[in-house]
Structure formats: C-alpha cells, structure tokens
C-alpha cells in the first residue's frame, strides 16, 4: 500500500514484478539498476540461489523525483518464479500497489505464463483483493528471440490480456521495453493515487 | 521441575526473601525462577543481569578482580546477586529487614552447587 506523507510531501509505492520462472523479472530490475544514476537508486538486494535463481525476492528502491510536488519513490520487487516458491510469492505480493506481469514470449512457455497469471490472481484473491482493482501492466519479454521460437505480441495478448491492460513487447536483457513498462505501471499507480481511490494510504500529517 | 528448582526454593525459604532467580547475564533472560504471584520476573531478570554486567565490567576496569557479591539497597527492599565462571547469575529480591549475611551465605552455597 502506498505510503503518503503530507508533511514531508513524500510518496512511496510498491511495485511487484511477477511471472513464471526465468521470464526476465530479475533481468528487468538489473537493467533498470544499470541505467539509473546512483543518486536516484538504492542498493539492489537480491536473495538468490547460487545459480542466480531468485530465492525470495529482488528489491530495488528508486527515486522517481518530484511529481506534483511530492518526492516519489518506487520500491521494485520481483518474486521467485519457480512453482514451488508459491508461499514466498504470496508474502512478497502483500501490500503491492501495482504489478508488472513479465511473460516469457517463448511458445513453449505459454502454459507457464498462463499458470503464473492464474497464480497471481489466486494470491490476490486470497488476500481479499479484487485483481481487477490492482494496477497491472503486461510485459512480453524475450521478443528478441528467433521468430520461430516465440509468440507474437498479438498472440500473447489474446492468451492473457483479457483485461485489456497496457502491454509492452520487451527485450529486458538489452533494454527495449523495460523503460516503457516501468513508465506505464508508474502512470497507472499514480493515476490511482490522484483519483484518491488507493486503499490503505497512510497519511503523515503534522499539526 | 528444573535442575535449579530445589536451589531456588531453598533461597526463597530464607526469611525476607521475596523472589529468587537464575538469569543469563548475556541475554538478561530467566533461566529459572521462584516468584510470587504478580512479580514481573522478566523485568527483574533483565535489569538485574544488566546491573551485574555493569558491576563486573566496572570492577574489571578498576582492576578489582571478579565481582564476589553485588547488593543494591533501595527504599523498600534489596537485590543481591552472585555470579561465577559461567554466564549464570543468581539473583535474590528481599525485604529491607532480611538478614543479608544469611542471604549471602545461601547465595554462595547456591553458586557452589551451580558450578
């Protein structure tokens, strides 16, 4: 849930990158970390296995600068994608203000994408959250792979974007689509805040 | 029942003794205790352990050697404590009129059995 401090005019939001194993969630964060100036990011925390599979989460704090007079900070998290980390995915998802679903564009991964997307909705429901109210952006990663190995953006959209949310093709390893995805989720989350409809906003007010 | 139960009971049987505890000096946690109803053993343990530790460090800094016996006199009672080679400290809470000499003897006896 967004933290808003009216006294110091600061907003902090939590964005979770979700998706099946090896779809590129951590790669997104690594790319962002590599591009952002030092004074606008915190240290990246990666709780991973020895083979660099996310074990618990990756975490990257970003300073988005001043937006409408509020210093805006985004905390980016990834979840572990492998199926047996279900319990830890639930924990990381708690309190998320927005979700980026990173799908693996490889044709053979379609089943995993759908299963992970369903898992996301199930976890939100378990927290008593209507998934339709959660800001969501879809990223179709690995669009740089050979054409015969991947599904097109349109095919992926047909398969999982039944809500008609913003969607972006991407190549997170080299960068295309990463920035666009982040901008889009930031826009959706902040739009929700500006409408005053974000549930659970904690307001710090000084008398 | 713990290995310390009878020792603590023996201490608490002394006239004027309200409570006896064995506490960990490092953690300030109760290892075992003999308390009356309503006594806050956790608080006594934490603060007594902290006090004993400070006394031990002070004695060390002043090159006085090990602390043999610690006694805190207050308006409505006193706290006595002894510690040995281990991390354990034996603490007694007593009335103002309690016989400190006897308590001291019993504490040393208890410490001997502990070590």
């Amino acid at each position: 849930m967004s933290l808003v401090n009216y006294a110091t005019r600061e907003i902090t939001c939590k964005i979770v990158y979700y998706g099946p194993g090896r779809s590129g969630k951590t790669t997104n964060l690594h790319y962002i970390y590599g591009q952002v100036p030092d004074d606008r990011k915190g240290r990246m925390v990666s709780l991973a296995t020895q083979t660099d599979r996310t074990l618990f989460f990756d975490f990257l704090p970003l300073d988005l600068g001043s937006i409408s007079g509020f210093t805006t900070k985004f905390q980016l998290y990834t979840v572990p994608g492998q199926v047996y980390y279900q319990a830890t995915r639930k924990l990381v998802l708690q309190g998320a203000d927005g979700v980026v679903f990173v799908a693996d564009s490889q044709a053979r991964q379609l089943g995993e994408n759908i299963e992970s997307f369903q898992d996301l909705h199930a976890n939100l429901a378990e927290q008593g959250i209507d998934a339709r109210t959660v800001p969501l952006v879809l990223q179709y990663n690995k669009q740089d792979l050979p054409r015969d190995l991947i599904l097109t953006t349109a095919e992926l959209s047909d398969a999982i974007n039944f809500r008609g949310v913003p969607e972006f093709p991407a190549d997170a390893l080299h960068g295309p689509g990463v920035f666009e995805t982040l901008r889009s989720i930031a826009e959706v989350v902040l739009k929700r805040l500006s409408a005053g409809t974000s549930a659970g906003v904690v307001a710090g007010a000084r008398g | 029942m713990s290995p310390f139960t009878s020792m603590l009971e023996s201490l608490t049987r002394q006239r004027g003794v309200r409570a006896s505890l064995i506490v960990s000096e490092n953690d300030g946690l109760i290892v075992d205790s003999n308390l009356r109803f309503g006594q806050d053993g956790d608080r006594i343990a934490a603060l007594a352990a902290s006090m004993y530790r400070k006394a031990r460090l002070s004695a060390g800094a002043a090159r006085l050697g090990a602390v043999s016996f610690l006694q805190l006199d207050a308006e409505r009672g006193r706290i006595c404590a002894v510690g040995g080679r281990s991390d354990l400290v034996i603490v007694v809470v007593a009335d103002p009129a309690a016989n400190v000499g006897l308590i001291r003897v019993e504490l040393f006896r208890a410490l001997e059995s502990l070590e």
Partner: protein
C-alpha cells in the same frame, strides 16, 4: 541518536525505547516494507533495504509458524558475534507495524524485550485515529512530471 519519522506521533515513544533499551539501530515499518520511522541509520537507502528484508523476515516467520502448528510466530531474535537483532510486531490504532531493533553488548535481549513492551503501550496510546476523509494525493495532470523524471532517469542510456 537521530530519529526520523514519517508519522510524528511515533517519535517520542521510539526515542524513549531506543534510550532505555540502549539500541544501536531501530526501525519501525509497515508489514509491506514501508518505513515509518528509523533511528541510527546514516543512509536512507540502507533504511529501505533493511525495511524490505525485515518485512520479509517477519512475514516468513509468521508463515512458517502457521505451517508448523497453525499459529504465526511473532518475534524473531537473531544473534551475531557482536550484535543481535530483535524483530516483533506492534499493534496500534493505525494498524500493525513491525519493529526491528539492533543492539550490542551494551544491552541484552531481556532488556530489549521489556522495553519493547513499553514501546507497544506507548505507541498504542499515542496513535491518533486514521483520518476519516482521504484527500486526493497528487494532481490529475501528473503525467508531465512523471515523464520528465523518468526520461531523466533513463534518458542518458535509454536505447
């Protein structure tokens, strides 16, 4: 020790706790990992990482407890060679928070625990109720600022 708070009513209870318990560092955070107050940290970026990890540890302990016997574990204690860590939830009228305390040989687990209980009581007493009316947080035309800032964030290296 410097204390920085998002919620001003937290400052006095936290300061009292840090002084009484002789803590080296303290964090009060929301279970989602957002910082509410901190004491002793010198870099804001370290605070955010510590909050994320503390929230994760707390959530993990709770879930582990539920899996073991159906009841969430509440407090955690980690002991290191020089420092120790105590992590425990705090209930207030503003909701549940988590308190992370780091201490060394100047204090002890027992001391931290007894003063933590007092902190819980102080926070419960000090917490004002949630405001009834939620105001819109930012202007409806925030996109200009957002795009400008994101471009600045990525502009130099964006492919």
């Amino acid at each position: 020790m410097n204390i920085a708070t998002v919620e001003p009513w937290v400052e006095a209870p936290l300061r009292r706790f840090v002084d009484d318990a002789r803590a080296r560092l303290a964090l009060l955070l929301h279970p989602s990992g957002q910082v509410i107050a901190q004491a002793g940290f010198t870099r804001e970026v370290d605070v955010m990482s510590a909050c994320a990890l503390a929230a994760a540890s707390h959530a993990t302990a709770g879930e582990l407890g539920r899996r073991v016997d159906g009841h969430a574990f509440r407090s955690l204690h980690y002991a290191g060679p020089d420092r120790q860590l105590f992590l425990s939830p705090v209930e207030t009228a503003r909701g549940a928070y988590i308190c992370l305390t780091v201490f060394n040989a100047e204090s002890s687990l027992g001391l931290v625990r007894i003063y933590f209980e007092e902190l819980c009581n102080d926070l419960a007493a000090a917490a004002p109720p949630l405001p009834a009316i939620r105001q819109p947080t930012i202007a409806a035309d925030f996109e200009l600022d957002l795009n400008r800032n994101l471009a600045a964030l990525f502009g130099r290296h964006h492919p």
